[in-house]
Symmetry: C2
Amino acid sequence: MAERLNGLKRSHMCGTLREENIGNTVTVMGWVQRKRNLGGLIFIDLRDRTGLVQVVLGDEIDKAAFLKADNVKSEYVIAVSGEVVKRSSVNTTLPTGMIEILGKDIKILGESETPPIIIKEDLDTSEAIRLKYRYLDLRRPDMQRNMIIRHKTAKIARDFLDDNGFIEIETPILTKSTPEGARDYLVPSRVSPGNFYALPQSPQLFKQLLMLSGYDRYFQIAKCFRDEDLRANRQPEFTQIDMELSFVDVDDVIDVNERLLQRIFKEIHNIDLSVPFLRMPYKEAMDRFGSDKPDIRFGMELKSLNDIVKASDFKVFKDALLNGGDVRAINAAGCGDFGRKDIDRLTDFVKTFGAKGLAWIALNNGEIKSPISKFLSENEMSEIIKRTEAKDGDLILIVADKSKVVYASLGQLRLEIARKLGILDGNIEHKFLWVTEFPLLEYDEEEKRYVAVHHPFTSPMDEDIEYLEKEPGRVRAKAYDIVLNGEELGGGSIRIHDSKLQEKMFGIIGLEMNTAWEKFGYLLEAFKYGTPPHGGLAFGFDRLIMFLVNTDNIRDVIAFPKTKEASDPLTDAPSTVDEAQLLELGIALIPNKINS
Amino acid sequence: MAERLNGLKRSHMCGTLREENIGNTVTVMGWVQRKRNLGGLIFIDLRDRTGLVQVVLGDEIDKAAFLKADNVKSEYVIAVSGEVVKRSSVNTTLPTGMIEILGKDIKILGESETPPIIIKEDLDTSEAIRLKYRYLDLRRPDMQRNMIIRHKTAKIARDFLDDNGFIEIETPILTKSTPEGARDYLVPSRVSPGNFYALPQSPQLFKQLLMLSGYDRYFQIAKCFRDEDLRANRQPEFTQIDMELSFVDVDDVIDVNERLLQRIFKEIHNIDLSVPFLRMPYKEAMDRFGSDKPDIRFGMELKSLNDIVKASDFKVFKDALLNGGDVRAINAAGCGDFGRKDIDRLTDFVKTFGAKGLAWIALNNGEIKSPISKFLSENEMSEIIKRTEAKDGDLILIVADKSKVVYASLGQLRLEIARKLGILDGNIEHKFLWVTEFPLLEYDEEEKRYVAVHHPFTSPMDEDIEYLEKEPGRVRAKAYDIVLNGEELGGGSIRIHDSKLQEKMFGIIGLEMNTAWEKFGYLLEAFKYGTPPHGGLAFGFDRLIMFLVNTDNIRDVIAFPKTKEASDPLTDAPSTVDEAQLLELGIALIPNKINS
């Protein structure tokens, strides 16, 4: 049976012992990383959250301790008391490598079977096993580092926001659907059967209410929920740094968030981010990078060829322009020698984004090769080369299609080629970018009406209000996203704070006032009683941590995550429940749905 | 329509202006608390989170501003720019009362209809209205103070725990039932219809897993959920300061939590709590106060009369003792003149706790009056008076029954009399108390077996392990509750960290290993791979804040609480959902259940 502490106290953490502790009598407690019995001496690497320390137990140091130590195996939990001494063979790879502990007493606090996961960095084990034995996976030093950085980042964010006058206020988990568009998780009510709570997709409406309650600056590191089919880096429950400010405009929100990121990067990685970050209107981001979250660590920008090919007889270009579309190109510098197979693969790639094909012009060894050269005049060809700044050895790639398709396919092609060429390998820059001036509304072809791009509470830009009714598609929003190396870290907007403007907005998106009232009536009612100008932003906290610990797997930054099937192999959630429980809730399973 | 900020910036918060600002040109923004038009001068009390400031607008100061100011009404949101000047009629009740702002420019940022709630302290409005218009209720200064104290307390707790080596780790909200005994909220899974997540009643099992993952010290300010019928101060979702520590015993957990409370009370109220707090074993608490959460701010302790009346012929006493019960008394000092009606009311009171009756002995004006005097010998009577230290003017109250009933009824009667006499009126003490050495197991008469008092992972006291099998009822647990002025603030225990002892424990409570395995198999599996000694504690955060802001209504410390029917009159949650949503989840409503 495991021994008890019986008053024994730990004096130090394993990884903290240094030369200055030499001569101290210490008691350390932790897990056995490794044990070697070299005849008269047993060496134990003992591990805790702070690192490893070497313990030596000798026949001659203490016979009883030596014999007990001989029983321990990997992952046993032990307590060792002894003297810190200078280590004969210094280990420079360990912070504690200058010293070791001469063990005089040992207690076995917990035994261990051979664990199904090796407790070491960079484990090459299937994720299914890692999640099933999550408690062992979390024991690995890299996962511990990730969790500690997550804790520290939350702490820094809270300290910063508190310093800047923000108040953290908890909003409900059991609430009503928020109008965010994604699917809600529902919770049946037992007290009023037939009714359901929804888990919040974000605290959006509550934080707006708090602004008109006068809290001035709210934040919350908040759990949010979306019942969506999970893509690689989505989780059914995720965490946001959510904030809202009163009496502010775009610049104020951007400023406070730049300083927040500055503090986080400084304190976690000692990196000095220079502010203000670059800002780029949505339209420019699309035109230049084909994306509203461009990776600006490299060029290969999109160039419009519309003016050059407007008189071209080439049917693909002509049709695209006639249909109001675009002809755009990127210059894949250094790819002039790509073979047919390479280009076929790129063509297949752009097709997944809706492009019908990929035209190309290769400049290689002084020759110009292109399947479309026969359709282009000499002048057109030379203008294209000039526009794309292509030189010998380069490859011009062209898509002609609806603008949306051109942006998506070239924007992604640009990233794909960068990956192929390894342009960003070893790049450790943090290129932050604010994308601003998003369109407020977009026309939904299916619904035959304008819909809100962000959400219907987003404020139009002051100078565009006049176009709201006549040219809704032209109106830009006071919305902003913060982008880091091509990934959206967060986003937000200034909200409408005028109920008349809000009503007009609902009218434009074809939401009748009684429907609007039904959906967010309490917010509209609240707006009647003195609403300050306000706006906010939410960071994807999990994604921020992914950047800080440099992983592309969201499950590396969440202690107990779900699989892509939204299940937890550790606890076996979700699972069946007793019929009596369902009866109490007034619900029943639909049999053929369950069996299917 | 409301005006826009158009670059206008706030320079100060309203409540922060002081004499040293005299001469400054400032811009403040906030809500109109009150407007008075005294002919050529308009006075506006402007309010934000920090307090009130007086603005004066005059015909002669700025005509346009004066005319605009004349349009504002209570709760309008305005921005005012002007000069800070010395106030002619100083208002000593306001921190800003030495100054006022001569308004030179004014913007109406948001209009307001007459609000259904008056924005003032100590509002005497029904809770139903307060919750429906929560955003206005939250605008009241006392609610703002409560929310700010809540924020600050969470901040102080996080700072303290971070300073003491704790790491905050988020545990899942979508999880599997925890074995806490209360009813779970369920969340149907869409991906695997027929299966359900449960919302956590506490992060208990996750925090234990984190200990064996080597995190050493974990904490979380965690949302927890219980689908219970709501008593006055219960909410379906509530917040805990939850923590767990490795390599510790009872004293370590108690020590860190005393220091945490010390820091909170110091920083919030500048109160110096003296530590260590008093500790009292469960048995002593019951014997002396009839309660495991005694209010020790006053005496009136329970006294056993068993030895005095053991030979008595009085049937009530005799029966109680024959059945293994107790005869105990309290001395309601100064109540010797209670009339028949007063005593009848006390009798009715103890009956609600299961007592069959209340015997009494009144010492008034040198006389002893008692309905039971005829059953007592002179010696018995004098011994009872001696034991209870009753003097002339006092009232001895006696209950004879099963021990449980005696404790409950006299423990509550003690509190009831203290309320009646106003013993604690104006008492501002904070009498903290640790109740320790709880029984590990209690015999369940219905189930005819022992059950865990706390939960089945609680460790027995080292010196009582030997009685586990032979005398389970005698075994005390390493469990502790922290009690403040008679309210339980939190509790916890040292856990079993030895799987053999854990198996024995399951055996004693008649939980077969395969059932245990099904319920918490992953924890038992986890325990095989090196478990450190560990233990923890959880504070009811909402209740802690109730103490700090001095309210007895839990809804005063939660921004968006639920009613006793677990509903939210503001958002109208819970509410009906589309049948299509339910179909996707594979569930249907049971019609007659809904209509009933």
